[in-house]
Symmetry: C2
DNA sequence: AAGTGGTCTAGACCACGTC
DNA sequence: ACGTGGTCTAGACCACTTT
């Protein structure tokens, strides 16, 4: 379990290929690899910094820096006095990590997910491009509603690679209470790491208007999201229509 | 220039007031204070880590950790071999730091700001609440257009506390080529640190439709932004209407 | 008491930029 | 050659949690 270490012993790096990476990043990559391989499951503790340090033959400080970055990436969660844990969408604090929608009155009631439909299909051009799979490859499509209290607020259409979600159907969705991503993580071993959203404003068509209980033509947010798992692999593409009559999309800019 | 240091020597912190803060955070606060007092200007280098360490009577590592956090907060910029610099909106890479709008075709041409109007007024209820000032206090209102190439894409209405932007008028705005925030920073010493945006979908009214060259009633993004300077003090409130026919609002979720 | 992460220090050396 | 930030190490001690 040795590390390369002396990648930087060579001078003139500036004229060579930019192959240099500090030790702690190599350690980070190794931990990432172990995570990806499922060596430790979401919600569980990883070995202590000391253990990892001796396993990789580096100092504790170097492991520490690697873990620091992974905690900043939301891959690990540190808990003083207890240990370092693999981040999980089952964690209540992370359940709606990617949902930026907030009620206009301060009510921070959690949303409820209502699955409407779930069927199999073949990837069209757009889905194949977004998911990085072959056109015609099997996909799963989910339609679901998000409610805040009694109010329908978001209608989502979700596209998943069929290969990775064998056995996913409407019943499974309805039996699960929790976020979609916690289901994906728990039942299919798919961990959603990061996502990218493209937001536009569109007019409600008839079907969206019906579900969201707004007038046809009402302006809605169209939120297209591509979600990635380890290795920047896209594994979900979804399009949501958000009713912003009583909610808004909140974004912090730093 | 001494630091308290031993705030943590006392045991039983858990039952006392949560006054504890590690040394590096105290150092961070001190550097922040110096920054706020204008000891070093945006774009300039701050003293080296060694200098700061001896100034504050701590080790270089502690200063380092303080600076690390401030760099993560986009307050400072590290440059290996050169020094650490005060972040500036004049920096080309930071000029449109808060603008999330992206052309749908990969064209990453920079937008151009076209000031339309600038006048003085008294703060209404909403402006006073958003800016944390008295109702009736003097404010400045700016209307401006953002163009990507020839296309008008965003119409902004911007509210500023009058006290902090003495001498700001349409002519000043038109003479400046660069981002608004670089103007604010350079001419008025106001440094925008972070912002919060609330996004909704609305229908274009007649005046917005005219300026953006879209049909009345077209769905637009309404982006309300409150921008903060040091000490979480709000110093700008703006509302933008974004035409998303050929652009989208891009948001990274981690 | 023992184990974990969190802080602080000191020293050595590397990579980068400038003189 | 020198000064800057960047990496790596080793050791001491603090704070939190569990046993």
């Amino acid at each position: 379990m040795d590390v390369l270490k002396n990648l930087c012993s060579n001078k003139r790096m500036s004229h060579d290929a930019p192959t240099f990476s500090p030790l702690y990043r190599q350690i980070k990559a190794l931990i990432l690899q172990a995570l990806e391989a499922g060596e430790w499951r979401p919600g569980q503790a990883i070995p202590s910094e000391q253990e990892l340090a001796s396993r990789f033959n580096v100092s504790q400080g170097t492991v520490r820096k690697a873990i620091d970055e992974m905690a900043a990436d939301n891959l690990l969660v540190r808990k003083q006095g207890k240990g370092t844990y693999v981040a999980s969408h089952n964690d209540p604090r992370a359940m709606f990590r990617f949902l930026r929608l907030v009620p206009m009155d301060g009510n921070l009631s959690h949303p409820q997910s209502v699955p409407l439909d779930c069927w199999r299909a073949k990837a069209g051009q757009e889905a194949s491009r977004m998911l990085g799979i072959e056109p015609g490859a099997p996909i799963i499509i989910i339609r679901r509603l998000l409610r805040f209290g009694a109010k329908p607020v978001v209608i989502d259409e979700i596209y998943l690679p069929g290969d990775l979600f064998q056995g996913l159907n409407l019943e499974v969705l309805q039996d699960w209470n929790g976020s979609l991503y916690s289901l994906f993580e728990t039942r299919f071993g798919m961990r959603m790491i990061r996502a990218q959203e493209r937001i536009r404003a569109v007019a409600a068509d008839r079907s969206a208007a019906e579900v969201l209980k707004v007038a046809e033509g009402t302006s809605l947010l169209s939120v297209e999201r591509v979600t990635y798992t380890y290795g920047d692999k896209p594994v979900e593409w979804r399009r949501g229509l958000y009713s912003t009559a009583e909610h808004f999309y909140l974004n912090e800019l730093n």
